[in-house]
């Protein structure tokens, strides 16, 4: 049986407001925090990630053999962001096919207010500011997302009062399991601790204003709860290849976005090699893939309404579900 136990790791709270790191098993949640009787390596997901391969090995053993009181019904607990406090959260452009329609979509929403929207759109496109710069295919571009603004499954996403266009972004993410430097691309797969779903909530109107500064999306993507992770972290042995997974976004049950991780232009391995060159990457760092083609309403000319329920599904990981509260 050795080595065949695979893990779908979660963070959850019980009715007594205690937070546990655990694993999904059917319709139950096994608390590794309780099963290990307070072993500090199982105090939080970040502790487990930092405990390395040996920590994972023990987590597998605890999943096999644990006290009866470490088992909770899934209905009796609240799943939280599996890794609520990553030391760093980078959102990368590993998918690049979506960039052009996303940039054009933003041009279109800016042009809407002009007297002649079509002419204004043509003018904006002609400036070249809404094309995808070539550097995106040459190297792995990323920005630092707000790692203090992480939300989890089922949480209400409250858009900032000043926005009039909140979007979801259908992404998934790798969690790094090791602190390392100068990782070769061929060895980079060993650095991945697991994979989770990532919703990079974005205020398009605020984003297009601040992006003119050429200093990133800043407050267009930074607000409380703007980065949703979950519902679980799946270890690589459980997931298999991360490069052939279906990705789907549904709004109120209707499919809005559909894509595949096979369309990624850059791999996680390439990103890890690139980011660790002469620099340190840390255990617990999260690398978002960026949005899959058609993975955001701005690309497909749709808009979320107040109270909409957004579900992101990535094959083999699960469904990340949130509702939005919009000020418009």
């Amino acid at each position: 049986m050795e080595g065949t136990v695979t893990l779908r790791l979660i963070t959850f709270t019980t009715t007594d407001a205690e937070t546990h790191v655990g694993a999904l098993a059917g319709d139950t949640a096994i608390s590794l925090t309780r099963a290990s009787e307070g072993d500090p390596r199982f105090a939080s997901m970040l502790d487990l990630v930092r405990a390395g391969e040996q920590g994972l090995e023990e987590a597998r053993e605890l999943c096999d053999s644990h006290p009866a009181y470490a088992v909770h019904g899934l209905d009796d607990v609240t799943l939280r962001a599996p890794l609520p406090n990553p030391p760093r959260l980078r959102d990368c452009s590993l998918f690049i096919a979506h960039l052009q329609p996303a940039f054009r979509g933003m041009a279109r929403s800016i042009a809407v207010d002009a007297a002649d929207p079509e002419a204004e759109y043509e003018r904006l496109v002609a400036t070249g500011k809404f094309d995808t710069p070539e550097v995106f295919s040459r190297e792995v571009i990323y920005y630092n997302a707000d790692h203090t603004a992480v939300s989890g499954p089922g949480e209400l996403i409250v858009a900032p009062a000043e926005t009039r266009q909140l979007d979801y972004e259908l992404e998934f993410a790798a969690v790094l399991g090791r602190t390392a430097r100068d990782v070769a691309e061929a060895d980079a797969a060993d650095v991945v601790f697991g994979y989770t779903i990532f919703n990079d909530w974005s205020c398009r109107d605020l984003q297009s204003v601040v992006m003119e500064s050429q200093l990133g999306p800043s407050r267009g993507k930074d607000f409380d709860g703007s980065n949703t992770l979950g519902p679980c972290i799946v270890t690589p042995d459980e997931l298999g290849s991360p490069y052939d997974l279906e990705m789907t976004a549904r709004v109120n049950g209707e499919v809005w976005s559909h894509g595949s991780t096979s369309t990624m232009h850059h791999s996680f391995e390439k990103a890890i090699a690139h980011f660790s060159r002469n620099r340190t990457v840390h255990a617990g760092d999260v690398l978002g893939t960026g949005t899959v083609m058609s993975g955001s309403p701005v690309e497909i000319g749709k808009r979320l309404k107040d109270g909409d329920e957004v579900e992101l599904e990535v094959q083999g990981i699960g469904i990340l579900r949130n509702r939005v509260q919009l000020p418009y």
């Binding site: 006290p67 607990v77 089922g154």
Partner: protein
């Protein structure tokens, strides 16, 4: 003590007791106790199959509460797990040198001081029910005879457990059926109570609270465009999800959203649907009642069009419950006739209904007024459709069209603009059958109080108005024509049917009386604005 001497009477007694056991727990306990006596060992316990695991069923002689509470072993793992998987006995003569053990149980069992175990499966035919343990707190060489005895106990236990399980399952099925029936009755009663609650509740908003109380979780009422009308109820612990989203037919796009932390089963779903159905009836009933009251005293729309809404959320909820959509994109129009025959509300209603279903018509300040719900069409298209409808009706009416409303507070502005445009148009001061404040250049003036308009007009044009009134001069029409013809003297003269020099003299006199210079763009702007205010003030005063 010899096994042969003890076992026959004890076994017979064990069987009698087993037969008397009322449930599996009792039977397991009897077996564990019997193992201790028969094999003369201090500790015994039975693990029962639960999914992929063995869980503690009963125990004898266990010293720590932790062992009883925490013992749980995956089938296939450790020694007991292998017994379950392979369905044959296994023993450990000395635990200290056994590599098969799993970490958690190793600790539990070491704490118990157990050093030797004998474990057999509890089987009935081909199915595995659990495993039975005998244990010593010192190394112990188990004999074949002991293995046989333990297997026999396990066998008898298995047969009784199977029997109890068959009986139990029958009992469970009956209990489940009874539970379902009880639940159905409870839910029917809840529906009846909800219906009664609705019957005595005419407050449209309170009805949602009643619905939320019956359903549990959070219930939201939203307009077609997603705008929240009202929410009621709180969420329990867990991950929130929408379990039902139902648009209420014939209720102006109103949608009920039920949010809970647990997925409903089929029966629960049916109950939720029934409650939502009752709520829809309530919306229709209360809506009809409110509409009747509105027809009688027009209080709600009076508030809307005069900008005195009170609590906007409360207002929105009432309007929504009437099945009226006042979402972003609504606008107000006022209809009048150039031949001064008043336009009736009913006539306007029949003109609009085919083109703008859902339009609300009412009478206000002697004019027929309509509120158009959001059409999703551009303003220019709405206007063209109105002009079309007017042309087809051959009625010669004029419609003043207000601005498109983004929220409730815009309706009074939209109404003021529509009314001002209509009043100016029926006095022949605008061409076309559909006019807006924007094209009449009175945008922003339409909502000013009459006294404010009059004062501003007097401040700018006062001396001129006095002259015209006292001496019967035509300075005001001259000024209006002069500015309308962009200070072109020949065109102004032609439009007034007077001589070129007359116009020049009058303009010089106007400049002198008002202290203005027509070459100064600021002065011209002030005069132009005052002229429009004058026209507006006159039209609204006479209206």
């Amino acid at each position: 003590m010899s096994l042969d001497l003890l076992s026959p009477p004890s076994s017979a007694q064990y069987l009698r007791w087993l037969l008397a056991a009322k449930d599996p727990t009792q039977a397991l306990q009897l077996a564990a106790d019997h193992v201790a006596v028969l094999l003369d060992c201090p500790v015994s316990w039975a693990g029962l199959v639960e999914g992929d695991y063995l869980v503690m069923g009963a125990h004898h002689g266990v010293a720590s509460t932790e062992m009883a509470a925490a013992w749980r072993l995956k089938i296939g793992e450790g020694i007991g797990g292998r017994v379950a998987l392979e369905r044959r006995p296994q023993m450990s003569r000395d635990y200290r040198h056994d590599s098969r053990r799993v970490p958690l149980l190793k600790r539990l069992i070491d704490n118990e001081g157990i050093q030797a175990t004998l474990i057999v499966p509890i089987l009935v035919a081909d199915s595995l029910l659990g495993v039975l343990y005998a244990a010593h707190r010192h190394p112990y060489p188990w004999t074949d005879a002991e293995v046989e005895v333990l297997e026999e106990i396990a066998h008898d236990l298995g047969v009784r457990l199977h029997q109890l399980d068959v009986d139990g399952r029958r009992g469970l099925l009956a209990a489940a059926a009874e539970q379902r029936a009880e639940r159905a009755t409870r839910e029917q009663r809840a529906c009846a109570e909800l219906a009664n609650g609705f019957a005595i509740h005419t407050d449209p908003v309170g009805s949602l609270d009643l619905l939320a109380r019956e359903l549990g979780g959070r219930v939201e009422l939203r307009q077609g465009d997603g705008t929240l009308v009202r929410a009621a109820g709180d969420l329990r612990q867990g991950n929130a999800r929408v379990i039902r989203r139902t648009e209420l037919p014939d209720c102006g796009g109103l949608t009920v959203v039920v949010i809970d932390t647990r997925d409903p089963d089929e029966q629960r779903q049916a109950f939720v649907d029934l409650c939502i159905g009752l709520f829809r009836l309530q919306v229709l009933r209360v809506g009809e009642r409110e509409r009747t009251a509105e027809r009688l005293n027009g209080e709600l729309f009076d508030g809307l069009l005069s900008g005195r809404l009170g609590d906007p959320d409360e207002f929105r909820a009432r309007i929504s419950m009437m099945g009226i959509d006042l979402g972003a994109g609504s606008l107000v129009l006022v209809a009048g006739s150039r031949d001064h025959d008043p336009v009736g509300r009913a006539e306007l209603d029949s003109l609009l209904r085919p083109v703008f279903p859902g339009a609300i018509t009412l009478e206000r300040a002697g004019r027929a007024v309509a509120v158009l719900p959001p059409t999703g069409r551009p303003a220019a298209r709405v206007r063209a459709q109105l002009a079309d409808a007017l042309a087809r009706s051959r009625r010669g009416w004029t419609i003043g069209l207000g601005r498109t409303c983004a929220d409730l507070l815009d309706f009074s502005t939209s109404y003021d603009e529509a009314r001002a445009a209509c009043e100016l148009a029926v006095r022949g001061q605008a061409a076309g059958s559909v006019v807006t404040a924007h094209e009449l250049g009175i945008l922003g003036m339409a909502s000013l109080p009459a006294a404010h308009l009059r004062t501003t007009v007097r401040d700018v044009l006062g001396p001129l108005l006095d002259l015209d009134e006292r001496r019967g001069t035509d300075f005001l029409p001259t000024l209006r024509a002069y500015l309308a013809h962009d200070r072109h003297l020949p065109d102004t003269a032609a439009s007034l049917h007077v001589h070129y020099n007359t116009v020049r003299n009058r303009i010089a006199r106007i400049e002198e009386v008002l202290g203005v210079d027509m070459r100064d763009v600021d002065h011209r702007f002030r005069l132009e604005t005052a002229l429009r205010m004058h026209a507006l003030s006159a039209a609204l005063t006479r209206a």
